[in-house]
Amino acid sequence: MLRPLLSLLSGGLFGAGLLLSGMTDTTRVQGWLDLFGAWDPTLAFVMGGALVPMAVAWRMTRGRSPLTGGSFPAPAKADFDRRLILGSVLFGFGWAMAGLCPGPAMASLSFGGWQGLVFAAAMALGMLIAPQLRLVLDRDTAKA
């Protein structure tokens, strides 16, 4: 019972934070990426603010278990595979085109009009295709 409640609460806080920070407005996000135009540094403040509680939380995971049982994620790895690099390039392009990434795309769904719905539907379709692409990429890697 606690786990679903925590999920709902975290999602709600995440959405509230995105709205407060202005990151649900595509103009702000595109402004952050528009380094050679009217650059908007707000996203750096949002990221900076978010890193603080998160860094504290990671420290608190040491020697503890999650509240609802199980275990914390394995230590961070340094394996830079093709999927990570190619995927991040594709994501960056799409992010700039629409000014939306997955979190804000959801958080703005209730007021983003048909545009938000079309973007979210296309994103879901992309997520459905991705596992197939992953197989192709891994097969090529195995061959090489």
């Binding site: 390039v89 990434c101 991705a130």
Partner: protein, 142 residues
């Protein structure tokens, strides 16, 4: 301008609190693309309820806040279906190939100095800046 930075910082703190609560509570990394993607491709079936509730909060809280405080949140997404569809596909495919987006690789990854998270963030911001320069200043599309 300054007020926007302060709101950015305050909103960022709330986002960080959300990630901290999610991590310490459930033991999982709060990554939007992973939470959505696991529902879409069926890989997260075992935790489907948690994912649906997380998304309910994520979509519902901004809606409730806008009703309660009478704010009218604004957003300015493109009205060109081609741009929206192509961008959505790229974001969906890209984040699932890379296993993370701005929340998972960015907020949750950088805060534990994850090399993969840091590299992914540098790449998607770099690609985003390159794309924005091309699309806006060279081709004049967006």
């Amino acid at each position: 301008m300054q007020a926007e930075w302060i709101m950015g910082l305050a909103g960022g703190l709330v986002i960080g609190l959300a990630g901290a609560l999610y991590l310490l509570g459930t033991g999982r990394i709060m990554g939007a693309s992973g939470i959505i993607g696991g529902l879409v491709d069926g890989s997260g079936r075992a935790t489907a309820l948690d994912r649906v509730l997380f998304l309910t909060g994520l979509i519902g809280a901004p809606f409730l806040l806008s009703l309660t405080f009478g704010l009218t949140p604004t957003t300015h997404a493109s009205s060109a279906p081609v741009v929206l569809i192509l961008a959505g596909l790229l974001v969906g495919i890209g984040t699932r190939l890379a296993n993370g987006c701005t929340s998972g690789h960015g907020v949750c990854g950088i805060s534990r100095l994850s090399p993969r998270g840091i590299l992914a963030t540098l790449i998607y911001i770099g690609a985003g800046v390159a794309a924005m320069s091309l699309l806006r200043h060279v081709w004049g599309i967006i």
